[in-house]
């Protein structure tokens, strides 16, 4: 039971959802879009989130698409993580998604919710960053399709009223060799200490990281270091850590030094697997 009252709207089209959002905001209402609802319901129940209305977007047709056609994979924002895993159009995305929360909860968590929500881990995002996926959105300025690497910077930078409708991935990228590693403190269903995802594309590593620092990131400087054949493995790992956008943080799941050790070992594995170096 949520302690405060709110109104619930079920939109049938993206246009309808955005129109209602703007109308409610004009009326000084605090509005949130609603997809799988796992984060909103649990945060609201704990009074960590408050709103006057939610607009449910999971009946919008674009949000329910899951298909592979014309060398592209299209995943609607309302597709559950379990459906992403079952279809397995993009193996790295499947690997990164099937370790989030637990099996039952993954029937409710949507891919759109995972990457646009408040939780900082956003583990399903990592494969999308390294595969240079595109996102289709709808807002006041109409439909837009943009590279996810341009939209994501610490968080998804969408306009307040803008809805994430779809994620589009080149099939060619989805079939590339990959590396994925998620470390937890104890239970597999816990939030991660570190989640790493990488693709090998034309001999070059593309690399993204979550949970070690305050936000997930993919960083060109780090990829240049990882793909530099003139420096040693140790130098690569040291320089990678030096180039993190923010330092490794300590939290209840692990201290900074412990997390750094986990990262060093995992990056070593990643380089073994994708570059075959010693």
């Amino acid at each position: 039971m949520i302690s405060f009252d709110f109104d619930y709207y079920q939109a049938e089209t993206a246009e309808e959802a955005v129109e209602k959002y703007l109308e409610l905001v004009d009326d000084n209402k605090n509005v949130s879009y609603f997809n799988g609802g796992t984060e909103i319901v649990t945060y609201a129940r704990k009074d960590k989130m408050n709103f006057d209305a939610v607009i449910d977007i999971k009946n919008i047709p674009e949000c329910t698409v899951l298909k592979e056609a014309n060398d592209e994979i299209t995943i609607g924002a309302s597709i559950s993580l379990n459906k992403v895993v079952e279809k397995n159009y993009f193996p790295l995305l499947s690997e990164s998604s099937k370790v989030i929360a637990d099996h039952t909860t993954r029937n409710q968590i949507t891919i759109g919710g995972n990457i646009t929500g408040r939780l900082p881990f956003k583990e399903a995002l990592l494969p999308l960053l390294v595969a240079e996926a595109k996102v289709k959105t709808y807002g006041q300025e109409g439909f837009k399709t943009r590279p996810i690497n341009e939209v994501f910077d610490k968080r998804m930078k969408l306009a307040k009223e803008e809805i994430l409708l779809q994620i589009i991935i080149d099939k060619e990228k989805a079939d590339l060799p990959y590396y994925q590693n998620r470390k937890v403190k104890q239970s597999d269903t816990d939030y991660p200490i570190m989640h790493m995802a990488a693709l090998k594309d034309n001999g070059e590593i593309k690399f993204a990281l979550s949970s070690l620092c305050a936000f997930p990131f993919r960083n060109k400087e780090i990829e240049n270091i990882l793909n530099d054949d003139t420096i040693t493995r140790e130098e690569k790992i040291d320089q990678t850590i030096d180039n993190f956008p923010v330092p490794i943080n300590s939290n209840l799941r692990g201290g900074k030094e412990y997390k750094e050790m986990i990262f060093r070992n995992s990056l070593n594995d990643c380089l073994d697997q994708l570059r075959g170096e010693n």
């Binding site: 079920q10 649990t42 449910d56 637990d102 039952t104």
Partner: protein, 155 residues
């Protein structure tokens, strides 16, 4: 656009029966099933999506009813443990003592039932992946595993 504000009558289909209930949008499915439909099979445990004691099936898919809004469930088929009477898995939980205090049992039965509907003979990893969605504070996992394995072996 469907709109739900304040108290409003909705129809929920639970275990094949239709129930007209007056709900507000802030009520979870768990709350409405227990308090308004008066089926107490789904249990409030953590009410945070962690323990699985509130697991129900929605259109045959297991979900945690503490994280779902009741107003989002119109036109869907909801199954609680009360709808699984005399199923093989219920009998196996009794036979293999898949319970201790019993609080988590209904969630485990619903989840295990769904697993066994989807897979004829699930392997050990699949069973573990599915059942790790639920917690037993008594740590009576051995009996639960025996119950699931009994149904698998009898197939």
């Amino acid at each position: 656009m469907k709109t739900y504000t304040n108290n409003q009558e909705i129809t929920l289909n639970v275990n094949g029966e239709s129930y007209n209930v007056v709900v507000k949008p802030n009520e979870t499915l768990l709350n409405v099933i227990r308090e308004k439909i008066e089926m107490t099979g789904p249990k409030p445990g953590c009410e945070n999506g962690d323990c699985g004691a509130c697991t129900v099936l929605v259109d045959e898919v297991p979900i945690k009813s503490c994280m779902a809004l009741a107003v989002d469930m119109e036109d869907k088929a909801i199954t609680t443990v009360e709808g699984l009477k005399n199923t093989d898995i219920q009998e196996a939980f009794i036979d293999k003592e898949g319970y201790q205090c019993g609080y988590c049992t209904s969630g485990f039965i619903v989840k295990a039932y769904s697993l066994l509907e989807q897979y004829e003979k699930p392997d050990e990893d699949t069973v573990e992946e599915w059942l790790s969605s639920n917690l037993c504070r008594c740590t009576g996992y051995e009996g639960i595993e025996r119950a699931v394995n009994k149904v698998i072996e009898n197939r």
